[in-house]
Structures are given as structure tokens and as C-alpha cells.
């Protein structure tokens, strides 16, 4: 249902009354970020009623979809034409919406091979902090007219505006999928992934947990046979393995609910963390450390690994020079500071509010 005008009115009236808004979908990613400070009264503006697939054109490899549409509904609709979003964005409890996925910018286990969710965005329609309805990008893949505001909005956690709808690039569903398993410790699993990555194998995901490495191969059956003959390993026929990793329902993630998690992004060849309970995706480019605190020990490891770490439920760490530019960009889109986001660009690095 098209709620564009209604949503625009909400923003316009908040702006004129000096009220703050926080944009939300179903709240399926609430555990990732800190709650917006209770001292700041920000009203919830929900996009969940703004639903529907506006245009689906399988032969153009593009879908245009409203923000409130559940990812699951979109995925099922795309599957009818044997297509999908290459980034496999997490659906979490099955509630995740397109707007929430775009706002957070998270990608699933296939990210290094099929690109991120941001990569698939061709165009976007937003309401900025001035209540203006703006369109950037389009429905075509090659498009260099103007600054890439579409992709800038992905992962912005609604700092720059309320995403109304987006046009997303699709990829064909692979004809065949096969998972190979290997019993390897963390360091050996990382090494094996590196070797595999330097050859043109049809790999589309990797996951390591509890000394067990899973590698997903997808494509033509002949390509999978050829790869399996060279890679060896045991076939794993577990149903829904990769969607359970995507949605963080896999047993590895139970530690997340129990004790929390630190999400580490680093070069895949960074050493394995020692003496920590951990898992990895993306050939080691995404590592989960199952712990409730970003200890000195972990901070040192992340520094050595030349990556960055984010303790779930806490603020995203952003280097101060970049944060300054980001703050100015926010002000360019939302000069009246209407949108309050859990990705707080207004705070200083020490957590205090900026001027």
C-alpha cells in the first residue's frame, strides 16, 4: 500500500514542530544497536504499512519495491522467476523488511562473491529531513549521473532520510547448490579458504564454526562436480544450513543471545584469535567473537588483525575525521535534525553530544 504522502506529512509536521523521529520497520535488528537515548523524545515512524512490489522485471534483472515489504515476501516472489538478491540480506526472525535491510546495509554469507546489498542498489526514493521526496539513481545498472546518493543511504540507519522504495539488481538463482564440509581448526580453515579463493572455483559462501568448515558451491552441475573432485571434503545435505547462517538461527549464533557478540571485519588473512570462542564467514573477512565485552584482549587482536570491531548493542566505532564528514553529510540531508538514528553521528567519540 502506497503511504508516501502520509509518511511525508509526518516528516513535514515533525520538522515544523521541532520534533524528532526515529524510522523503523519491524525492529528485527534492534539487538545490533544501542537504544536511542530516552532523554531525547523521538517518535517512531514506521514504514511497515508502506508495502508492495512496484515493478518486477526478471528480464531486466531489476525489482522496485517499497520499504515496508517483508524480505521474505520479496524473496518468495523473486524465486518464482528463479531470481534472488545476490547479497542474501538477513531476514532474522522472518520479520525483516526491505527498508530495514537497506537502512542497516547487512549482507548475508554470499557477500564476498555476489556483492553487498549496497552493491545491488540501482536507485532509491527517499524523504529527506526537509520533507522533500527525492529520487536518485534509476532502474539501470550503468548510471553515473550525479552523486551516488542511493548507495549512500544504504547502511545509514535512516540518518539521511526515510527510504520509501528502492530498485535492486537481481541475480539468477543458481541451478545447483552443494555444500562441502571439512574438519579443520580455525587457522587451518582460514588457510584452506585462502587457497580456494585464488582459484576460479564456483564458491558462493563459507562458514566455520566448532572446527567445522562449510563451503557452498553453486552453478552448473558440471562445475560443481569438477570443483568437488579437486576440493574433496564431505557433502553436507543439511536442509536450510545457509539460511540459518544468514538469519543467525544456526547453533553458532545461540552464543549471541546468551553472551553477546563482537563483530569483527578484517582482511581474510588475519590470524585466528587465540583463546577466544569464535566463528567466521566470508573466508574469514567477517568473524564473530562470542563474548559480552570488547575486552582489551580483543581490542588488541583487532588492531593486530588490521580490522574493526563492533560490539553488538553498542555504538558503531567511527574514526573521528570520518565522523566529522558524516555529520556534515547528515546535516546536508537533515538540517533540522528530524531523524534520530541508532547510528549516532552527532555524538563525539567519547559518547557526549556534539555541539
Amino acid at each position: 500500500m502506497d503511504q508516501t504522502e502520509l509518511l511525508r506529512e509526518v516528516v513535514v509536521s515533525a520538522l515544523s514542530d521541532g520534533r524528532h523521529l526515529k524510522v523503523c520497520g519491524q525492529g528485527s535488528k534492534r539487538h545490533y544497536l544501542p537504544e536511542i537515548s530516552a532523554e531525547i523524545s523521538a517518535e517512531m515512524v514506521s514504514t511497515v504499512e508502506h508495502t508492495g512490489i512496484v515493478a518486477l522485471e526478471p528480464e531486466e534483472l531489476v525489482v522496485t519495491v517499497r520499504a515496508g515489504t517483508p524480505l521474505k515476501v520479496l524473496r518468495q516472489e523473486l524465486a518464482r522467476g528463479r531470481q534472488m538478491l545476490g547479497a542474501e540480506p538477513p531476514e532474522f526472525s522472518g520479520l525483516g523488511t526491505v527498508g530495514g535491510a537497506l537502512g542497516s546495509g547487512f549482507s548475508g554469507p554470499g557477500r564476498p562473491w555476489r556483492g553487498s546489498l549496497r552493491d545491488s542498489v540501482l536507485g532509491i526514493e527517499v524523504i529527506n529531513g526537509k520533507g522533500e521526496r527525492l529520487k536518485f539513481g534509476g532502474q539501470v545498472m550503468k548510471n553515473v549521473a550525479g552523486y551516488d546518493v542511493s548507495r549512500l543511504n544504504v547502511g545509514a540507519f535512516a540518518n539521511l532520510g526515510l527510504i520509501l522504495q528502492a530498485s535492486l539488481r537481481l541475480v539468477p538463482q543458481p541451478d545447483h547448490s552443494r555444500t562441502l564440509c571439512y574438519e579443520l581448526d580455525g587457522e587451518a580453515a582460514l588457510r584452506f579458504c585462502r587457497q580456494v579463493a585464488q582459484q576460479p572455483y564456483p564458491v558462493t559462501a563459507t562458514f566455520w564454526h566448532d572446527d567445522n568448515l562449510s563451503i557452498r558451491l553453486e552453478g552448473a552441475e558440471s562445475a560443481l562436480d569438477a570443483a568437488e573432485a579437486r576440493l574433496g571434503g564431505q557433502r553436507d545435505a543439511t536442509n536450510g544450513l545457509w539460511s540459518s547462517i544468514r538469519d543467525q538461527r544456526h547453533v553458532a549464533f545461540s552464543a549471541m543471545a546468551e553472551s553477546g557478540a563482537v563483530r569483527v571485519i578484517c582482511p581474510p588473512n588475519a590470524p585466528a584469535p587465540e583463546g577466544l570462542d569464535w566463528s567466521f564467514e566470508w573466508n574469514g573477512g567477517l568473524r564473530w567473537i562470542w563474548t559480552n565485552a570488547l575486552s582489551v584482549n580483543i581490542a588488541e587482536y583487532v588492531h593486530r588483525a588490521n580490522g574493526w570491531a563492533w560490539q553488538l548493542g553498542c555504538e558503531v566505532p567511527i574514526e573521528s575525521g570520518q565522523k566529522q564528514i558524516m555529520r556534515r553529510i547528515k546535516q546536508a540531508f537533515d538540517p533540522g535534525d528530524v531523524f534520530r538514528s541508532p547510528l549516532n553521528l552527532l555524538s563525539n567519540l567519547d559518547g557526549s553530544d556534539a555541539d
Binding site: 549496497r118 553515473v144 551516488d148 564456483p202 570520518q322 556534515r328
Partner: protein
């Protein structure tokens, strides 16, 4: 900010203090090569050219220019086709060609770390010993630089499958207008906070100066096949493209040419193209050996069913080069058909191809100017080449006007005024068609967030609301392409 008066003697002295002798060009003869980029119709002599060798020198230059209000026009290899590196008469051209070192090829993480002046093709050459390559391959890849590729978000014939520059860059070091160095991203995926990397890609040097780039490298595919399919009409060729993609096949490249382009290319390159074809498709498939042979058979069936009357599958690497040669020489070949041509660069949804070509044919009739069409069919990027003779009174203006109409048509059908050449100064007018004033204002606000004093590449990319820029075009005289040694396709 339009007042560019500053104390030239003072600024010159300051710049001399930060650059080695010989890296600052101020004499008329020395400045001449910097008067234009690949858009040679529009020329301007800059005040001076600065050629830094280090990031620290870039920082110093930017700080001086920002303090005294001196415009900076960043320049890579100068191969761009939209005038993005057109100098500013009162400003500094900041040429990054001396920063041309490959800092690291890191096969373990499948990345390369590069200075901005590194040539596109040099990356793949350096990575070859590890069986890796850099995927985006703009037609000027032997000369164009990676810094320029980031500024323009360059594509290439393989971007249907492997994406544009933005999909293959993992990190940059960028000097902001106030001379601060930011390190965004790195040898890993997804940096925290707003996606600054995405907005820097394709920003045409208007937001910051890129001093280092980390790109992703891919393993070379085991096997590649190239095939040609000839059709008696354009519609059938369009159906074939839709069918291939509709069946879930993503070719590495898929190119289409119309009759005039085919004839010109064949006479020029002797690639074995059937000259009686109304349209040809050139399709490249890659993957494992078995996969490619399976795909080739499948695509062969699809194109024949769609109406191809002739299919030529290259049997050897040499044959593949022959088939590609015709397509890659299409621009110079068309250049022999008339004294001048204009190269347009719109993108359209593929389903609109028939309608757009029919309207281009009608415009061709109305203006009395012939048009040859080459088309990156997989991704909808259309390059109509408008033939004209600048010695005929009114021909140039007619070609420009017709070109503008074609781009407006691209916007009307849901496409864009520039697929891969950038806006620069060339397409400022058409930007007014694609974006409304509110959207343009938002672009300006974003620009001001990065560059409050407006010193970086002023007047490019985004038209002011009151003035919609000069027109230009890739204007080719007597078949003499700008930078004729480069392939253009």
C-alpha cells in the same frame, strides 16, 4: 563561490615551497597538453599544473588552495570523455600521473593497493603471476588510471557480470578539501558508518582527492567462449538478449551493433561480420571448461530460436580476438563514414530498446543526420554515434540538439543521461532533465558537506539551477579520435 581572485604571486611561492622543481608547470607550452581531456572540443588553459609525487604534497597543495580560494581540477590520465578534467582558467590542475606506483599485490587477500596514477591494465598485468586480475576494463584501459576510474565509476564491456568500479573498490585514502587524510575501508569489506566510499566513486573529483586505492582482484576464469549471432532485424536481437538473461545466464559480455555500425566495422577490421545483418550480437561466456561448453550450446540454441540466421563460435583465442576486433574498432570505423561524429552515452531499460531505436531513427530522419548504434546490450548502455560534417553550416548545432534529444529520451523511458562517461561539463544540460531542482539542491548540499569553499572541480557534474552549462560531446573530426591510440567502445 565564483570569485576566484587571489594573490597569484603568493600562492605560487607557497606551491613552489612544497613541490620539487619541475613538478610545477606554469609556461604556456608546458600547459598545452593539459588544456583538455578526451573531450577535445572544449579547451581551457589552466593557471598552472601541479604534479605531486606524494600524498603529503597533495595535502600541502590542497591546504594552500583551500586557504586562498584557488580552484583545483584533479586529473588522472586525461582520457575522460565528458570534460571532467577540463581546466579552470584561474586554477590548478592537480595531475596525479606521477603517483603511479603499485604499492602492493596481496594474493592472500586477493587485493591490490595502488597509487591513483596506476594504469588500469597495469593492475591485471601485475596480478597475472598470481592468476588474478582486476575486472573493470574501460575501453581506454591501456592508458586510463585507477584514480580516474574511481572518479568516474568506470565500467567496461564486462560489467554486466563483474560490476563497475564501485563494486570492485574496497578502500581509498582521500584528501579532503581542508587537507585532512581519511582512510576509508581497506583490504576488507564494509566500513563502519555512512558509506563514504560509495559516494566518492563517480564523484568526478568534486568531493576529495584520492591518493590511494585498494581494489579487489579475481581469479582468472578457466575458460572463455566468444560467439557472434547475426539477425535480420533488431527486434529479434533484442529478444535474444532478453531470453539469454531470462534463462538465468549472465554472460561476461554481451554487445549489440546495428547495420551501419556492422558495415563500418567489417570494412575497417575484416572481423568476418555478415554485412547484410540488421543487427549482430557478440556474446562472451566464462567459467569452468565444462560449464562454458554447456552454456555455449545453450546460448547457441537461444539465439537461433530468437531468429539468428548466422552463428559464429570462435574456436581459438585468435578467433575470439578477431570477433572482438570488429566491435572494438567500431568507433574509428564509424569515424570513416563522415567527417565528424558525436558519441552519446545513455542507458535505458533493455525492454525499451525497440522504442528508443525507432525514435532515434525518426530523429535521424528529421535532422537529416545518420546514426550508427553500438550497445552494451547486457546492461542497457547505448552509444548512438551521430554522423555529421562540421563544415556544413548548422550541422554541428543539429547534431548537438539531436544528441540532447536522444539523452532526454533515455530519461523518459526510465534510463539515464550517462552510463559510463560521466557528466563533466558535457551533460550538464541533460542533468536538468533527469533531476528536479530539489534533487539538484540536495546534490549541492552534499557537495558543500565535503567542500564548503567549493574549490574542488568547480562547475562540473551538477548544473546550477540558473545556468545549465555548456554543451559539448565527443566531437570527432575526420575520424581523428581524441587520443587515437586508445580503443573506444
Amino acid at each position: 563561490m565564483t570569485d576566484w581572485s587571489f594573490n597569484k604571486n603568493l600562492v605560487l611561492e607557497l606551491l613552489r615551497g612544497v613541490l620539487p622543481q619541475g613538478n610545477l608547470i606554469t609556461d604556456h607550452a608546458g600547459l598545452r597538453p593539459y588544456e583538455c581531456d578526451g573531450l577535445t572540443a572544449i579547451r581551457e588553459q589552466p593557471w598552472l599544473v601541479a604534479l605531486p609525487e606524494t600524498e603529503q604534497q597533495v595535502v600541502s597543495i590542497v591546504r594552500i588552495c583551500n586557504e586562498y580560494g584557488v580552484p583545483i581540477v584533479p586529473r588522472g590520465a586525461g582520457t575522460g570523455l565528458s570534460g571532467g578534467a577540463r581546466p579552470h582558467e584561474a586554477g590548478v590542475v592537480l595531475g596525479l600521473s606521477k603517483m603511479n606506483h603499485i604499492l602492493e599485490i596481496d594474493p592472500e587477500n586477493s587485493v591490490a593497493r595502488l597509487e591513483p596514477g596506476v594504469r588500469n591494465l597495469a593492475i591485471s598485468e601485475a596480478a597475472a603471476e598470481f592468476g588474478l586480475y582486476y575486472a573493470p576494463d574501460p575501453s581506454s584501459q591501456i592508458a586510463c588510471s585507477i584514480g580516474g576510474n574511481v572518479a568516474e565509476n568506470s565500467g567496461g564491456v564486462h560489467c554486466l557480470k563483474y560490476g563497475l568500479t564501485v563494486h570492485n573498490v574496497l578502500g581509498v585514502r582521500v584528501v579532503t578539501s581542508d587537507g585532512i587524510v581519511l582512510e576509508i575501508g581497506g583490504a576488507w569489506y564494509d566500513a563502519p558508518g555512512l558509506d563514504l566510499l560509495a559516494v566518492l566513486c563517480g564523484s568526478e573529483g568534486m568531493l576529495g582527492i584520492i591518493t590511494e586505492i585498494t581494489v579487489a582482484l579475481l581469479p582468472r576464469p578457466d575458460s572463455v567462449a566468444v560467439m557472434l549471432a547475426a539477425f535480420r532485424n533488431f527486434t529479434d536481437a533484442g529478444v535474444a538478449v532478453a531470453e539469454v538473461i531470462g534463462r538465468g545466464i549472465i554472460p561476461a559480455g554481451m554487445e549489440m551493433m546495428d547495420k551501419l555500425a556492422v558495415q563500418a566495422a567489417e570494412q575497417f577490421a575484416k572481423a568476418g561480420y555478415p554485412e547484410d545483418a540488421a543487427a549482430i550480437l557478440l556474446i562472451e561466456l566464462d567459467g569452468t571448461e565444462l560449464e562454458v561448453s554447456g552454456l555455449t550450446a545453450q546460448v547457441d540454441r537461444i539465439v537461433r530460436t530468437a531468429g539468428a540466421y548466422h552463428v559464429d563460435i570462435a574456436e581459438s583465442a585468435q578467433e575470439q580476438l578477431r570477433l572482438w576486433k570488429g566491435r572494438k574498432s567500431a568507433f574509428p570505423a564509424v569515424g570513416r563514414l563522415a567527417p565528424d561524429y558525436y558519441c552519446m552515452d545513455g542507458t535505458i531499460p533493455r525492454r525499451e530498446l525497440g522504442r528508443v531505436l525507432a525514435e532515434i531513427a525518426a530523429l535521424s530522419e528529421t535532422y537529416g543526420l545518420r546514426v550508427a548504434n553500438v550497445f552494451h546490450a547486457g546492461d542497457g548502455n547505448l552509444h548512438p554515434l551521430i554522423l555529421f560534417d562540421a563544415n556544413e553550416a548548422g550541422d554541428l548545432e543539429a547534431a548537438e540538439e539531436m544528441g540532447g534529444k536522444i539523452l532526454e529520451l533515455c530519461v523518459q523511458v526510465g534510463g539515464t543521461v550517462t552510463g559510463e562517461h560521466g557528466v563533466g561539463v558535457e551533460k550538464l544540460n541533460q542533468m536538468c532533465v533527469q533531476f528536479n531542482p530539489t534533487e539538484l539542491e540536495q546534490f549541492f548540499a552534499l557537495k558543500a558537506a565535503w567542500d564548503p569553499n567549493g574549490i574542488l572541480n568547480p562547475g562540473k557534474g551538477i548544473p546550477t539551477l540558473t545556468r545549465c552549462g555548456e554543451l559539448g560531446g565527443m566531437h570527432v573530426r575526420h575520424g581523428e579520435l581524441p587520443l587515437p591510440e586508445l580503443e573506444r567502445f
